[in-house]
């Protein structure tokens, strides 16, 4: 039963990264400088590409939260207590970007000034939120979570404060921006914009690799065990190495303008990175100063797990077909735009 739940947690996280992550990335890309006449087109492309899937992409995070608080209450409450501050920072970001993206699209008077403000806020909040996501992820198994401490600093600051969590945050933001750049190449017919996205994808790909190296380095500098754990874990090494070398394939597809192939390869890279990380620590949910807390020892009673698995399985019967329909309508069918569609 717990294995099924671990699968759902992993799958939801993965889908959140490869779909929701690109939404963050698009916001980050909008922060980068661009020629004035291309900015409006870029915003238009991003609205059209992300609008239909925006709310659905956000749901994977909710799913993880629900699985945690029903199935693994101890994990949930420990995270929400020891990582209270980064969680609040994350929430503020989620609230702001979730609203401003929709507001920008549905402001009936799309004059330049207000659009500029929306875009700035959307960009900054997307960057902010992805940084905190990375910080939280890095804090899980950093071993600094200290639920028993009564000292404010060791209980609520030290668990997440440091160079390694920050670097992970930057790494996550770069991956998100990279995914967005790759996905967006195929969303526009504007030649120059296509070129711009492709150029940014190249640069971001290189930056992701460098940042990935720095994540290991910073962990090592602060005495963390990431590198040591990693070297002893062949499957994790395999994931990271293949993710890194898939860039050759990716660049080939981008050059050939095979946008679908490029998307799949980029999502594959993200999947491998996430899988490597997940494998490294599974089945541990988090590591406190007293040692790891396994999902198996933090699980709710069997009757609850059964109901949770049932809800997830039955829910999947509804969700996956509708999700497939959503993707089919907007990402595969792609009919010519008509003037009938409301702004």
């Amino acid at each position: 039963m717990i294995e099924i739940l671990l699968f759902f947690i992993g799958a939801s996280l993965l889908l959140y990264v490869i779909f929701g992550g690109a939404d963050y990335g698009a916001g980050i890309l909008e922060l980068l400088p661009i020629k004035k006449q291309m900015r409006a087109e870029q915003t238009h492309v991003i609205n059209e590409a992300m609008g239909p899937v925006w709310e659905a992409n956000h749901m994977w995070l909710i799913l993880v939260i629900v699985i945690l608080f029903m199935g693994f209450p101890l994990v949930f409450t420990t995270l929400m207590t020891s990582l209270h501050i980064p969680m609040v920072a994350l929430l503020v970001g989620i609230v702001i970007r979730g609203c401003v993206f929709t507001f920008r699209h549905y402001d009936p008077l799309s004059e330049e000034k207000s659009q500029k403000v929306y875009t700035k806020v959307f960009g900054i909040s997307s960057l902010w939120t992805s940084l905190w996501l990375g910080i939280i992820v890095a804090s899980l198994n950093r071993g600094a979570i200290n639920p028993k401490s009564l000292d404010f600093h060791t209980a609520y600051i030290r668990p997440w404060f440091g160079l390694y969590p920050l670097m992970t945050g930057i790494f996550v933001a770069l991956i998100f921006a990279f995914l967005a750049a790759i996905y967006l190449i195929g969303e526009t017919t504007h030649v120059e914009l296509k070129k711009l996205f492709a150029r940014r994808a190249y640069i971001l790909n290189i930056l992701v690799v460098i940042a990935g190296g720095l994540v290991f380095l910073t962990s090592d500098l602060e005495g963390g065990s990431l590198l040591r754990d990693f070297i002893q874990h062949p499957a994790a090494i395999f994931c990271m190495v293949s993710a890194t070398f898939m860039f050759v394939l990716l660049w080939f597809f981008i050059e050939k303008r095979k946008t679908y192939h490029a998307r799949i390869v980029a999502a594959g890279q993200a999947t491998l990175i996430l899988a490597g990380w997940y494998l490294l620590y599974a089945p541990n949910a988090l590591t406190t100063t007293e040692g790891p807390l396994s999902f198996f020892s933090a699980a709710a009673p069997p009757a609850t797990l059964l109901q949770l698995v049932l809800a997830l399985l039955v829910g999947s019967l509804f969700i996956f077909p509708s999700l497939f329909f959503l993707i089919k309508v907007f990402k595969i069918n792609k009919p010519a735009r008509s003037g009938h569609a409301p702004k």
Partner: protein, 432 residues
């Protein structure tokens, strides 16, 4: 402000903010779908205009509802880890179903908003309906989770731990049905009157008379029907409260002394020191009748409970009176509406009345939630766990409160400003 009060205020404010958008998100899609249905059947382009106008409102308000709901799911752990540690496994089930329903809603709203001309018109219409149906279902599930805090079920409490957990029994606890019915009907009322009121305002300004009248009629069909049913549901709910949470009922009514043929007070100030009701208008025997269908029945007063287990009496009483007062008023307006509808003539003064009802339903919803939440205090799980024992150990909750206060007030203003821009833009369009 101590941490407990700050955390409770944060939760109250987050819920109070979210509930407005949640109520709109789960009912307004039905108005929109009705207009869309009429367009598809009658091909009158005005119905299409109306569908799209409402659709934009739904889109904006849904976005705010989705993120403020996310905040709540985190806050359960951020503020009340002591509660979630025990309650998560017991009441997780309605939350997991809520997650499913909300997921479907999120997919459906993407399909509906962006799917014009991309699928068969009736399939597209169906996606709009799905937004409403799944939104409505997720509302029922969340209220079921809340109702468990009032009438806990599906576990045994042994040495401060929940054991023998039965999530199904927890979800279908004694309060889930009346709470859900009451809330969902209230949402229809609040949103219906608000929408009807806005269109009544536009009618008074003489803008696009036909379209605004159609809009008003659709919204009022939901609002007025719900308003006539709600008194019965409310009565049913109060009887359940009398049965399962006598202390809450006593606080709601400012009923201090256990007695037969208990009087119901209209208005009045419950003086906790003297344990009397001051300045209220008593209706003899009415409370006994309302609670137990018998004018002579004995109604438990607050004197049956130790003082430290009393909820804050004045807040519970006032908010309950506000809710009942507004509910009665809206029922009256609903009756008038049906009368004018039958006469096929809605006078201008009645349109003005409708303008006045724009905020009323929402005020009643807030007052109702204050009644049920404050009335449950000092318990977080009624009879099992006190709210203070569920509080997070993280200090400085007041900063958390101020942060979300500022964020939500700002967000509220931006949303209102944007909606106003939408309405202005729509009006300009008609003038051309």
């Amino acid at each position: 402000m101590d941490d407990l009060i700050a955390a409770r205020s944060t939760m109250a404010f987050s819920l109070g903010f979210h509930i407005i958008f949640a109520a709109i998100g789960m009912t307004m899609p039905f108005f929109m779908t009705t207009a869309h249905f009429l367009f598809l059947r009658k091909k009158n382009p005005e119905y299409l205009e109306l569908t799209k106008m409402w659709m934009k409102g739904v889109a904006i308000l849904f976005a705010v509802g989705a993120v403020s709901g996310t905040v709540l799911s985190f806050e359960l752990g951020l503020l009340w880890p002591g509660f979630m540690k025990h309650a998560g496994p017991v009441i997780g089930m309605p939350f997991s179903w809520e997650g499913t329903a909300f997921f479907l809603e999120a997919i459906a709203i993407g399909l509906f908003l962006y799917g014009w001309d991309r699928m068969h018109p009736w399939v597209h219409w169906g996606t709009g309906l799905l937004v409403g149906v799944s939104g409505f279902a997720s509302g029922v599930f969340v209220v079921a989770a809340n109702s468990w805090m009032n009438t806990p079920a599906g576990f045994d409490w042994v040495n401060g731990e929940a054991v023998n957990i039965d999530p199904v029994a927890a979800m279908f606890n004694k309060a889930w049905l009346h709470q859900s019915l009451h809330m969902q009907t209230a949402a229809l009322q609040a949103v219906g009157f608000a929408v009807a009121g806005i269109h009544a305002y536009l009618l008074l300004k003489g803008k696009a008379r036909h379209l605004n009248l159609m809009a008003l009629k659709i919204a009022m069909a939901f609002a007025a029907t719900a308003s006539l049913i709600q008194p019965f549901i409310g009565h049913f709910a109060a009887q359940k409260v009398a049965e399962y949470q006598p202390a809450k009922l006593a606080a709601m009514e400012g009923h201090f002394k256990t007695e037969k043929a208990a009087a119901l007070y209209i208005g009045g100030y419950p003086n906790v020191e003297t344990q009397t009701m001051e300045y209220g208008i008593p209706i003899p025997g009415a409370l006994s009748f309302l609670a137990f269908n018998d004018f002579n029945a004995e109604v438990k007063g607050l004197d049956q409970f130790p003082r430290e287990l009393w909820p804050p009496v004045a807040i519970t009483h006032f908010s309950f009176q506000i809710m009942v007062g507004i509910g009665s008023l809206l029922a009256l307006v609903a009756l008038l509406y049906f009368y004018f509808l039958k006469k096929k003539n809605i006078p201008n003064w009645f349109l003005k009345v409708l303008c006045g009802t724009i905020p009323l339903g929402f005020i009643a919803i807030e007052a109702g939630w204050i009644t049920t939440e404050v009335g449950r205090q000092p318990w977080i799980i009624y009879g099992f766990m006190k709210t203070k024992d569920a509080l997070t150990p993280v200090p400085g909750m007041v900063y958390h409160f101020v942060l979300f206060l500022i964020l939500y007030i700002f967000l509220g203003f931006v949303t209102a400003w944007l909606l106003k821009r939408q309405i202005t833009a729509a009006q300009k369009k008609f003038e051309v």
